[in-house]
């Protein structure tokens, strides 16, 4: 427990000076607040920008932050220093993952406040965002583990996040993209956030994808560990 809390506290301090990671947590919530209050188009759905940016947030922030943090620690050999001081790979991943999750939930709170969610709607929103964040976080962990340095992590995480973040939005404009997007969890998260009826289908697709990503994560971890 001491090891996990140390990694967590280290991450809190380190990220305050890491603009690349910090901006991931702040960008979309701030954009949502600004757009939600500044843009008013007739017949625009309720909380359009909050919901749009929430899904983009899930596709981008946890994945990029997690992969960037892990790959930087590998590149600069600070992870090795932690491991030599008795921190296991799992403890490191839990400490870092907890930090990224809490930061994402703080962003989620900003979205929720901007959207004026209350009661069951608020709980439902947080549950959906939590689920999406965890899936992205595991995917980010797998990318970080598989990459030797920040450059190679970014070369994987940037295209992946672009696809995951923008697919739900683009699916509004093209039926073929929509058909393809249905196979990706951000689209299902988007449907859930927008109150779609097909809840069970959304949950099933998201869970199935979470299991596939978890499998990828475990294979990466077994193959490379945190070396």
């Amino acid at each position: 427990m001491k090891e996990i809390s140390t990694v967590f506290l280290k991450q809190v301090k380190d990220t305050l000076g890491n603009k690349t990671v910090l901006i991931q947590f702040i960008l979309f919530p701030v954009m949502a607040v600004i757009m939600q209050n500044a843009v008013n188009i007739p017949d625009m759905p309720d909380n359009f920008f909050v919901k749009l940016f929430s899904v983009m947030y899930i596709g981008m922030a946890p994945l990029t932050a997690m992969s960037a943090v892990i790959s930087e620690e590998k590149e600069k050999n600070t992870l090795r220093a932690l491991k030599m001081s008795g921190v296991s790979g799992i403890q490191y991943l839990i400490g870092t993952g907890t930090y990224v999750f809490i930061m994402c939930m703080a962003g989620t709170a900003v979205f929720a406040a901007s959207g004026g969610f209350t009661g069951t709607e608020l709980i439902r929103y947080f549950l959906i965002m939590s689920a999406g964040t965890i899936v992205s976080l595991i995917l980010g962990g797998a990318v970080g583990i598989s990459s030797a340095n920040q450059m190679s992590a970014a070369s994987v995480s940037v295209p992946v996040t672009m696809v995951l973040s923008f697919l739900p939005m683009l699916s509004n404009f093209n039926e073929k993209i929509k058909a393809a997007a249905d196979y990706f969890y951000p689209q299902q998260i988007s449907l859930l956030i927008n109150g779609a009826d097909a809840d069970m289908k959304c949950i099933a697709v998201t869970m199935a994808e979470a299991l596939i990503i978890l499998g990828f994560f475990m294979i990466s971890y077994r193959k490379r560990g945190l070396e």
């Binding site: 001491k2 301090k13 000076g17 600069k76 932690l82 001081s85 008795g86």
Partner: protein
């Protein structure tokens, strides 16, 4: 007597390439043992095996009589390790860098302040690590290794790339730590450093120990020329072969006050290494 650190017949290969071949080495408490060799000789690999970062293909590696594989987490916490490949957090201050590891080892804030003071960084506690000079970063890494008051200190090229003044500071810290009774295992390709710090050295080349012993003993053993160099009071230098005749000549020069200084001509470790391997040490 149980040696603090011992490696017996260690073998290690990477992808078919043998990096360590039958390496034997020992280190004792209160002594500095040097592993001397050029880049790629296998020094870092051996340190990694000792610190549990790598597993040897065969051979026995023991710390205080216990096999490396049988060491518990608590045992490993008595190691201090300083290596280039153990980085520091650039965005955190010196104090915060040490604070992370102090938390892991259950050390107090006072321990951190003492560690900074010991390496001369007490006024740089709030300085970000990326603002430190190379020598100061080196001292920060050493502070991290020494903060836990290790019983065994592994130093992998501790002064590599440092200027002589910064290297001298590191040397003093290592000698102080050794005087405290810590067993120090140091790798270097710097012959002068090994000669100055180490009570015994092993010369490593292509994964094999080619010579070992006290630095002066090694140099004496390889003194094949056996020549005396005499600086005379009139400014001239003469060389005499070390035989019975030379003894009389030297005695005469001393008696008549003509000899200013007399030197034997043992090779240094660099020359011994070259003689044994045909390779330069400092590459």
């Amino acid at each position: 007597m149980i040696k603090t650190v011992s490696a017996i017949n260690i073998e290690k290969a990477f992808g078919g390439k043998r990096v360590l071949c039958g390496v034997n080495i020992e280190a004792e408490m209160g002594k500095i043992t040097g592993l001397l060799g050029p880049s790629g000789a296998g020094k870092t690999t051996l340190i990694k095996i000792f610190t549990g970062q790598l597993e040897a293909d065969s051979g026995i590696c023991r710390i205080k009589g216990k096999d490396i594989g049988a060491l518990k987490k608590e045992d490993k916490r008595r190691f201090g390790i300083m290596a280039d490949e153990l980085g520091v957090y650039d965005r955190l201050s010196c104090y915060e860098n040490l604070r992370i590891f102090a938390r892991l080892y259950g050390l107090s804030k006072e321990d951190i302040q003492n560690a900074l003071k010991n390496v001369g960084l007490e006024n740089d506690g709030k300085t970000r690590a990326d603002k430190l000079s190379k020598g100061m970063r080196c001292r920060l890494r050493l502070a991290r290794a020494l903060m836990i008051h290790p019983e065994i200190l592994f130093l992998d090229e501790p002064t590599s790339g440092l200027d002589p003044t910064a290297a001298e500071k590191i040397h003093r810290l290592i000698l102080d730590e050794c005087a405290r009774g810590t067993a120090v295992l140091l790798t270097t390709h710097n012959m002068a450093e090994a000669q100055k710090l180490c009570s015994s050295v092993s010369l490593l080349c292509d994964g094999r120990i080619v010579e070992s012993g006290a630095p002066d003993d090694i140099c004496r053993r390889h003194n094949s020329s056996r020549i005396l160099r005499i600086h005379l009071s009139d400014g001239r230098d003469i060389e005499l072969s070390q035989n019975e005749g030379a003894a009389e000549s030297v005695a005469e020069l001393i008696r008549t006050g003509k000899a200013d200084s007399i030197h034997t001509s043992e090779p240094d470790l660099d020359a011994v290494f070259k003689e044994l391997t045909g390779k330069e040490l400092a590459i």
